[in-house]
Symmetry: C2
Subunit: 229 residues, 2 copies
DNA sequence: TAGATTGTTAATCGATTAACAATC
DNA sequence: TAGATTGTTAATCGATTAACAATC
């Protein structure tokens, strides 16, 4: 894996998959879910670029996943492709969204309105995949009340209320390391189930909460190894 | 994979590994390299927090990699642990760095001095792992000449020279999507071998260059799936 | 000693790949 | 038709895990 993941993971709880037919398995294996997510990323971009069909070979070039495996992953859920042609980009996007059960809209709380927070709020990397930043928080009184990416920066004391009102499932921590554990605790208390951690700290959270720590340097180390050898 | 990849990957080229003894295999498998990188991330933080020893169980809690596999991964290279005690954090860090052959210093060129570029330049996520931002570039004449994270922002025309002078191996693209392919081309021309892409575009590069695209939304999709099921 | 944790075995499961008939 | 690419099989390889003796 990841390559790579490769990349942060999630605690496992596997059950039977790949029933062979078109039925959706109970639960995807970690590997399948990770790969489908990556296909989705490429497909979303391909769609933006106006591409109508895409072959497993092309998907393979972009994701570095073997093309046979891509066809295999997809064919487990139905016959989405057309022989000699490839896959329809738009329909494959919606199929994978359906499989990942993330076809809907999901709301995010962004903690931290510094450089990173602003970069995240003004980008559409999250928006492209159905995630919407519905609230931004900061502890700096100077920043509170200012506008960042169409949102007014709020005081952290509003967090609990906002999480309930807006049905926020994901909290993104774009704060300095020394503040992140305290804010992670706040997120957990407010009922957030997934924390995306852009700080370097190791966060301690209850088992029902998932932490994903961003680690660009780790990804680089990994890429560097294969360059050096 | 990671998340992960587990997470962006790198084209494979596997050979025999796990020779059982203490010798270093020719080349690590993708999975092993990815996991070792992740252990390193946790260990680096643990060291910062003043932790002296760490058990495979603790490492497992933070990385979500099975503790047996962690011990297995490590024991392939030597007997680093102490039964009943665990692993010495500091010595394990340097052992893994040695295995990944990334014990040295590696220089980075950062393209883009906007919010994201500033966030990267002022953070020490890269520095902690031996990566140093030695040059920052932007196309905005207003930004050129200003200082960002101890570096003067330069014009992109200086890229080629800097890459040679500073022995830059990695280029980080923190620019809008519409500019990224053009700048990726510049990086390739200048001789950079690894591109870390924070934009959403799918980049086209020669086979000898590795592109790693940051995809927080993909990681979130993945985490969300396991929350929803 | 008693408790903890490593290092390692053995068994299983899933990932990976080449190959190719089916078919657009 | 000819070329391309899917869907699927079969064979192999590596990852994963439980279990436990070794030993700190």
């Amino acid at each position: 894996m990841t390559r790579q993941d490769l990349v942060g993971h999630v605690a496992s709880n596997s059950s039977d998959n790949h029933d062979g037919g078109e039925g959706m398995p109970e639960r995807l294996s970690l590997g399948v879910a990770a790969r489908l997510s990556r296909y989705l990323q490429v497909l979303t971009q391909a769609k933006k670029m106006g591409k109508e069909t895409i072959s497993s070979k092309e998907l393979s070039d972009y994701t570095h996943v073997n093309s046979t495996q891509i066809r295999r992953d997809l064919s487990g859920f139905g016959k989405f492709g057309k022989r000699g042609v490839g896959y329809n980009v738009e329909s494959l996007v919606s199929q994978i969204r359906k499989i990942l059960r993330t076809a809907g809209q999901h709301n995010i709380a962004l903690l931290g309105a510094g450089h990173l927070g602003k970069a995240i709020a003004s980008s559409d990397i999250f928006a492209d995949h159905g995630f919407r930043v519905v609230a931004i928080f900061d502890s700096d009184p100077v920043k509170i009340g200012t506008e960042v990416g169409n949102q007014v920066v709020r005081d952290i004391s509003d967090l609990h209320q906002l999480v309930e009102e807006e049905d926020i499932v994901v909290g993104v921590l774009a704060v300095p390391s020394h503040a992140s554990q305290k804010l992670a605790d706040e997120l957990v208390r407010a009922g957030v189930k997934i924390i995306f951690n852009y700080s370097e700290s190791l966060l301690v959270v209850p088992p029902e909460v998932t932490v994903h720590t961003s680690s660009p340097a780790v990804d680089l180390l990994y890429a560097l190894y294969f360059y050096l050898t």
